[in-house]
Symmetry: C2
Subunit: 282 residues, 2 copies
């Protein structure tokens, strides 16, 4: 997905929010805003937003000298998600369609997104999403590909959401490789977070190599690219991964909640809609 003009004030908002979390030094925060402000004229609008995010978050890290500002927040989110795990597991076990309920829960986890300027309440969002209609629902296609798949590549998104991903992986019944970001960026999941979330028990964990808040193939490592090409089924969680991969040359299933107006427009859905979208390129 290309960058829309509307993304630019959002970059500035994200830069402010992250710098404010990283440091209380007002001069450093102002320096972040100065640098991001100066960057605006050279943002390639044909690039995806997380490619620009990649540069911005690196600048914030350099200026504030804080490399994982969301570390404690990520821990707290994983802890909260783990505390919900037993009840959600029961929810799945008692449902008529276990796979679909697990997909809904995995999408609900996607609200734990600190790149988007919204407050969230995971318990309220779970209740809502468990009964919400899908705006795009390529479920039959998903089940067909899953049935035929021997290897599933699952692209993780945020820390905390990762616990909900575990519930879905447990329902897939196939060998799963779970790919995460290479370094901390916003509250996205890295290997350590995946382990804390218990994902090492149900999947092979790998770094995609991407330092951006998304799977950006040009930033990914060779091993990941190989797995991405050869996987029978790719599940892509969240907005960032959609922004990075929406025009990629292979079939991918996107699971997300449309949390910003730009992505909602791009998907032709409404804000807060939930989506299970297949892109099929042969």
């Amino acid at each position: 997905m290309k960058t829309y003009l509307e993304c630019i004030p959002c970059f500035m908002q994200q830069a402010y929010r992250t710098a404010r979390i990283a440091t209380s030094d007002e001069k450093k925060i102002k320096e972040v805003l100065n640098v991001v402000g100066e960057m605006i004229k050279s943002i390639p609008m044909e690039n995806t937003p997380p490619e620009t995010g990649n540069i911005i978050y690196q600048k914030i890290s350099e200026i504030t000298e804080v490399h994982d500002p969301y570390k404690e927040i990520k821990k707290a989110n994983i802890k909260e998600a783990l505390s919900l795990y037993p009840e959600l597991k029961k929810n799945i076990e008692n449902s008529d369609d276990r796979l679909l309920t697990a997909i809904r829960i995995a999408i609900a986890g996607n609200v734990i997104d600190l790149g988007v300027n919204k407050k969230f309440n995971i318990v309220d969002d779970l209740k809502q999403i468990l009964k919400q209609d899908f705006a795009i629902f390529d479920y039959e296609d998903f089940k067909n590909q899953l049935n035929r798949a021997e290897l599933v590549l699952y692209l993780g998104d945020n820390a905390g959401e990762s616990v909900f991903d575990k519930l879905l992986i447990e329902e897939l019944g196939k060998p799963v490789t779970y790919a995460v970001r290479d370094i901390p960026v916003i509250n996205d999941c890295v290997i350590e977070d995946a382990v804390t979330s218990g994902l090492d028990k149900v999947a092979t964990l790998i770094s995609s190599g991407s330092t951006a808040p998304a799977t950006i193939l040009s930033l990914c490592n060779e091993d990941f690219i190989e797995k991405f090409k050869n996987a029978d089924l790719v599940i892509s969680k969240g907005q960032g991964n959609y922004e990075g991969l929406s025009q990629v040359n292979r079939s991918v299933f996107f699971m997300l909640k449309a949390k910003c107006p730009v992505i909602a427009n791009n998907l032709n859905v409404k804000e807060n809609d939930i989506v299970l979208k297949s892109i099929n390129i042969h």
Copy 2:
């Protein structure tokens, strides 16, 4: 009020929104964002936010070549406010404290603020504000000064809100001078809007001379400064005027709804609180 770091992403958001309303030419909108982005490093943080707003809105006007992007929106807001006038007049007439009800209504009108990134529904807001407690309530002080006043200077804010100001002016029972911005900026009231709102029937209309979305004394004309010094009572509506005058060297009564977190913090109230605040400097 000085500029807070949090104001900077908001400047960018306002610039985007106004440029988008002014033109559909994506290149011009991008140019606005480029220019505002470059400005960030030189924003004097000790200045008030509307002083920077003054420069930003002038740049938008230059780049888009649209000098009153909110013209139609202002007309529609005044029209809607005028349609509510008869019922609100009855509300005041039937209330136990006519003056206080008129103040509440004038503050409710303050939600018609297109500089702040919020949707508003004037009818819902009126219902809410008519029963809402004030977070700061210097009403006794206000009544005392009003009783003694021979001349009231009323600093207008947005177009549409101006109709609600008329209802309050009708309850003041004193000669009133109503001051507006010198040129169109955001949806702020100019002389033409004040006339459309019927304010010429109840007050002497003047331009403050300010081209900023606020009363900034250094931008005001001599005639206004004279009236500002000599008025027995100054009523200042809205956030912009508060930002511009919160540290001024005379007594002023501020009436506003705290619509952004920065102003709420500065006033030590919560977002969405309503305020009748006196500053008394002798």
